[in-house]
Symmetry: C2
Subunit: 249 residues, 2 copies
Amino acid sequence: VPELILEPLAARLAGRSPLDPGDRQAIVSLPHSVKFFRTGTYFIRQGQQPSHCWFLIQGSACRHKIVVNGGRQIVGLHLTGSLVDFQASLLRVADENVQALTSVQAAAVPLGAVASLIEQRPAVLRALFEDAVAEASIFREWIANVGRRDSRARLAHLLCELAVRQQAAGLSPTCLYQMPMTQEQIADVVGLTPVHVNRTLRVLESEGLIRRVRRQIEILDWNALQQAGDFQPSYLHLPEPQPYLQTAA
Amino acid sequence: VPELILEPLAARLAGRSPLDPGDRQAIVSLPHSVKFFRTGTYFIRQGQQPSHCWFLIQGSACRHKIVVNGGRQIVGLHLTGSLVDFQASLLRVADENVQALTSVQAAAVPLGAVASLIEQRPAVLRALFEDAVAEASIFREWIANVGRRDSRARLAHLLCELAVRQQAAGLSPTCLYQMPMTQEQIADVVGLTPVHVNRTLRVLESEGLIRRVRRQIEILDWNALQQAGDFQPSYLHLPEPQPYLQTAA
DNA sequence: CGTGTTTTTGACTTCAGTCAATTAAAGTGG
DNA sequence: CCACTTTAATTGACTGAAGTCAAAAACACG
């Protein structure tokens, strides 16, 4: 049933700000087509003018910038359930790249349809606004993470954030999850080199805070990891859990 | 005339997204009281629940976080003309501090009044949304700045950003402006130590890119500074210049 | 089973941090 | 306007966390 595809989006937004049945119906009725992307595919590249935004049905993506010396910085992570690049559509052009971290199943929604949705339904606009404000809070925490924490704290912080966000997305319990990135990509998130990420991850492992098998992260001591990473989840501004979350557990 | 106080806010928002005369009138008619703050005063502290938001009539403020080892990271700068902490009101509590960098003249606007304004006038909500999206774009650029650029580039980038933003705020020409921060505060913006900021600023000065007198920054070679800082102003997403900007030059 | 990533390890370098002292500037009250 | 105090900027010598380079081991996959 095509109506079911965008239902998680409606639920997510309703968790931010109240939506009446008409609002929710308008969201799930947005025109969309489901597409599949393999790891590494670009959703948008710097300088392009997007025509669609993407609802991530399954899989994760990162938003990154290339700096002048050739380095790369990942400036945001989009997990299952997030709406990618709607905000960028409010601005003129994209000045960032968005790339699939895993294989991704996404619903492409034409920007025009979203534009008329928010014009007709202020409550939806409001909910999208609150979603954007919560995302901006994550950006600010990342500035602090990359600017003022040492490598051990930076990585511990990232591991905690992913644990909480993946759980909130209904993907996994907090203590065990699949890391959606290589160590090189992790390095581009936290502003370190891949070599140093590797060494620091094994420090955390040798301290007994985490265990790693393949790319699975198991958090053995949540309190200690949280403390090591100076992690307080309030900045994530997670909405109250919505019905759809339980179904996916 | 009290109506004139919030006129720059209306003009700024109208520059983001079209507002009809009724919208603009509603903005300038918001209840407000003008207050003065001296350097260092806190507008909001971590954990407080704000009751007002602040329109900066004159002066600048910073938004900062304290990390566990006692370090501080400035995660955002608010210059003359910006609306502080309206967004935070959409979330539950503030998890950041906002502090005056200079002496500040600000209009306190009760959050309740803004809440009913955006409920009644979707166009204003839309404009505030776009303002927030542009601000978020700055946060992402800062993540890249702090995460992947060396000290020289970081500082050059900040100097460029301030030059452009202060000019956009109608405060000064691009090539000469008043730095609203001490070197210690600059260090907290770019994630370095005050000592290293000092040394790096004089490197930029000795290279002939800038000149400093008191806290005035004069940019002697705009192209070179822009290149040194890997600075491309598009991420600022400045609106088209509005009438009120010319008056202040 | 070979091929191309990704992860891991070691030796060495460097950029930025630390600690501590000095100089300059900005207030402040008499 | 000048002593006095405080804050901010500057400088030097030394340290250290993270980067670099390069190679080996482990893994993923057709």
